[in-house]
Every structure is written in structure tokens, then in C-alpha cells.
Symmetry: C2
Subunit: 157 residues, 2 copies
Amino acid sequence: MTDTATPPSLSPLYFDDFHVGQRFVSGTHQITADEIKAYAALYDPQAFHLDEEAARDTFFGGLAASGWHTAALTMKLVVDVLPVAGGVVGAGGDLQWPRPTRPGDTLHVEVDIVELTPSRSRPDRGSAIMRNTTRNQNGEAVQIFTVRVPLPRRVAG
Amino acid sequence: MTDTATPPSLSPLYFDDFHVGQRFVSGTHQITADEIKAYAALYDPQAFHLDEEAARDTFFGGLAASGWHTAALTMKLVVDVLPVAGGVVGAGGDLQWPRPTRPGDTLHVEVDIVELTPSRSRPDRGSAIMRNTTRNQNGEAVQIFTVRVPLPRRVAG
């Protein structure tokens, strides 16, 4: 029920260009220990994100990226693969981190189109529910973000 | 039903130190246009996060911070006010951005303890549902993140 569209179209995507079951697969990003520590120093300065030694005896049992760092890298990968007309925005959604991102992990994102809803009041608008699953090099999910994304329509219906 | 604990204790906080209805209020962070653009260049490179002129005719009608930037700043403010023993971690939750963060906004976070649950299987563990509301200088919510946070117990029950 899914197909893969990689590399993506470089032209802007409208509501009318999507279908339920469609999947977009992003490029990859390999994260380093230095990146993990630099992000954490700015936004999530806790031992398990800052220092290998200090991380050993914590919840994570070793250095791990802040979940918000995984989220940030995910957004970059999504923006690069999904040129939604007018931009990729969302009012929020359900965010899960099933496992941490570790130094050296190579991440990619699978964007699945779960639902498409035309606007009842505005013929030039619609929205999609997208499930963005971020996976490491072993195929393990490190983040799942399910979000409703507004989409412009190409042709008023 | 809420009380305010600011400034917070500097000693680590355990499950036993929390009660439902408790509120922790963070310090503040004033965000600049340059910060918004620098974050966006790395993680969310879209016109409405990168350039005032280009942002004018978009969904946001002007420069706005990436929601993930608001989330990152929120985490920093939470970590600074809430010294949970073993660290502030979460497996995910419900994330909402009711309105964007704008250049010059001064953000703070209110952490509300919504629910406390002792572990059934482990007398040294419990968890809290926390609602972290990030507000701008007008008191308007720019982010609400509701998350279950594991907490160690001070005394095995």
C-alpha cells in the first residue's frame, strides 16, 4: 500500500499531488558525538547528552542525542525531501522517541501520507496527516511524529 | 490549585518532592531575529524562518521561529528550573504550537504537575505527567508539550 518517491520532485507539491499510502524517503544524516554535545550545550545541557564518561551511569547508559536534536535533524531531512507549496508547517502532533539517537547513527526519515482531507469551507485548501518516522542505520525508529499539515490546492475544486 | 516554586530547589528532585497542582516557573529567554535565522539555517531552512522580506507573503506573514526552535529553547528553560534526580527525560508526548514565536519575544515556561503515578513493579520508581506551557511576554502560549517523565523515588516504598 506504499510506494516510494525518491528523489522527490523539485517543483512545489500541492494537496492534489498526494495520495494516501504515498511514502517519501529522505536523504541521510550521520550524527557525530561533537554535534550531540554542541546541540546539548545550547538547548539540553544534561550529563547524558554532554559527556561520554558522565553518561555511562545514567538512564541512557552512554552518550545519547537530545530528543529535540533528533527532532531538529528530522525537520531538516523532511524539508529537503518534501517541497510543499507554501512550506512545511504544522500546529503540532504526537511526538514519540522509541529509542535514543547515538553517536555515529545515520538517520533518515520516512514520510507516510496517512490521511488527506479537503477543506470544507475553502476550496483552495486541504490538509494531510503525515507520519514522519526517523530511523537509524539498523532500521530502528528513533522518532515518530504524527502531524496534520495544511496544504494548498493546485486547482480550486 | 497551583503554587509557584521559583527559584527552584538546587538539590535534585525525586518523585516524593512533587505534588499534583504544583507549578514550576522557568527563567526567561528573549529571542532575536538572528537566533531565529541561525537555527533555521541548520534545521528548518524555509523562507518564513530565514528572511523578513521573504516571510511577508507566507503562511506566517512575517519572520517566525521554527516550532522546533521554540521546543529547544523550552527544553533549556525546563532543564534550568527542574533539577530532576537522574535528569529530565521523556519518551514523547503531545506537542502543540498554538501560535508562532516572533523576533524579540521573551519566553518563559510553566511546568504543571498534572498526574503522579508510583510504579507498580518498582518501588524505587514513579512517573509524572507534566504539562510544559511556553508563553511569550503577553502571556500567550506558543507551545504546550504534555509528557510523561520518569522519576526516581527518594525512599523505596
